[in-house]
């Protein structure tokens, strides 16, 4: 197989390694899966002793943007979706990830890392649904 090295998005690969490092930290030190929807969604159970680490992780995610902004300039962020569609997308993502027990991090990264058949199935389904949705929005119902 031939890979043109110029076409490799090194930033993406390096950023992925950082995400992998974060997964490793939470797993080996805390025994937890770094799945963002699961960590956030678990807060709704309000179980004593199971709240603070979740809040700390979420705070870390928020802080990462603040830390980045302190040292560097944020990369370009382009959101062209309007508020109505953003709200609809958020509802679907929130409900769907809880019903399906995971998102891109929990199933896509952690699940595939541990070769979980459930996560491989879930990742296949949400990827295909994503492809289909973008196809319909960008190439079929272009209004």
């Amino acid at each position: 197989m031939y890979i043109n090295l110029d076409s490799v998005p090194w930033h993406a690969a390096a950023g992925g390694l950082m995400i992998g490092a974060a997964v490793t930290l939470l797993l080996l030190f805390n025994g937890r899966i770094a799945g963002v929807s699961g960590i956030v969604g678990g807060l709704y159970r309000m179980q004593q002793g199971d709240i603070s680490w979740r809040v700390a992780f979420i705070l870390g995610l928020v802080l990462s943007a603040v830390i980045w902004k302190f040292f560097f300039v944020l990369p370009e962020i382009a959101i062209e979706t309007n508020y109505t569609m953003l709200a609809l997308a958020g509802l679907l993502v929130g409900y769907g990830t809880r019903l399906g027990s995971g998102c891109t991090s929990g199933h896509g990264v952690c699940g595939i890392s541990r070769r979980s058949p459930r996560s491989i199935a879930a990742t296949t389904v949400f990827m295909l649904a994503g492809f289909m949705t973008v196809y319909l929005i960008r190439h079929v119902f272009t209004f």
Partner: protein
């Protein structure tokens, strides 16, 4: 210490999301747009994250407790059932609409983006609706 490690993991995770470019929904949507001007970035992010994660889970498999003494909470369920598939389908549709999934949603909110706050608020509401439906069962 457990809370500090969770905070550190969150920070590193978020920095990875920013550095990889996944904080920008346009790049995620370009990955999902397979018949358009396709951008392979997301595949590289997942590939290298899984490569590193695979080592971590191989190490974790041999352990009963984490380095900090907590139990290893790795899901034991193996059955591929309809909630898993239906939920993933619903999630994928939402992901395809905005190009935002839960991790980047929280990081984006940290950048102060109003768009992200709209998405995040709706996402938290969606999770609440699920939890409410669960509670009444």
């Amino acid at each position: 210490m457990v809370n500090f490690m969770a905070l550190l993991s969150g920070v590193v995770f978020g920095l990875g999301i920013i550095f990889s470019g996944m904080v920008n929904p346009a790049i995620v949507l370009a990955f999902l747009d397979i018949t358009g001007n396709w951008d392979s970035s997301l595949l590289w992010v997942m590939g290298s994250a899984v490569a590193a994660g695979s080592i971590a889970f191989a190490l974790a498999k041999k352990r009963k407790h984490s380095y900090l003494g907590s139990s290893m909470q790795i899901p034991a369920v193996t059955k591929i059932d309809s909630p898993l598939l239906l939920g993933s389908l619903v999630f994928g549709v939402g992901w395809g609409i905005a190009g935002i999934c839960p991790g980047p949603a929280v990081v984006l909110a940290g950048t102060g983006s109003i768009d992200a706050l709209v998405f995040l608020t709706a996402m938290l509401l969606g999770m609440g609706i699920y939890q409410n439906a669960q509670g009444r069962r």
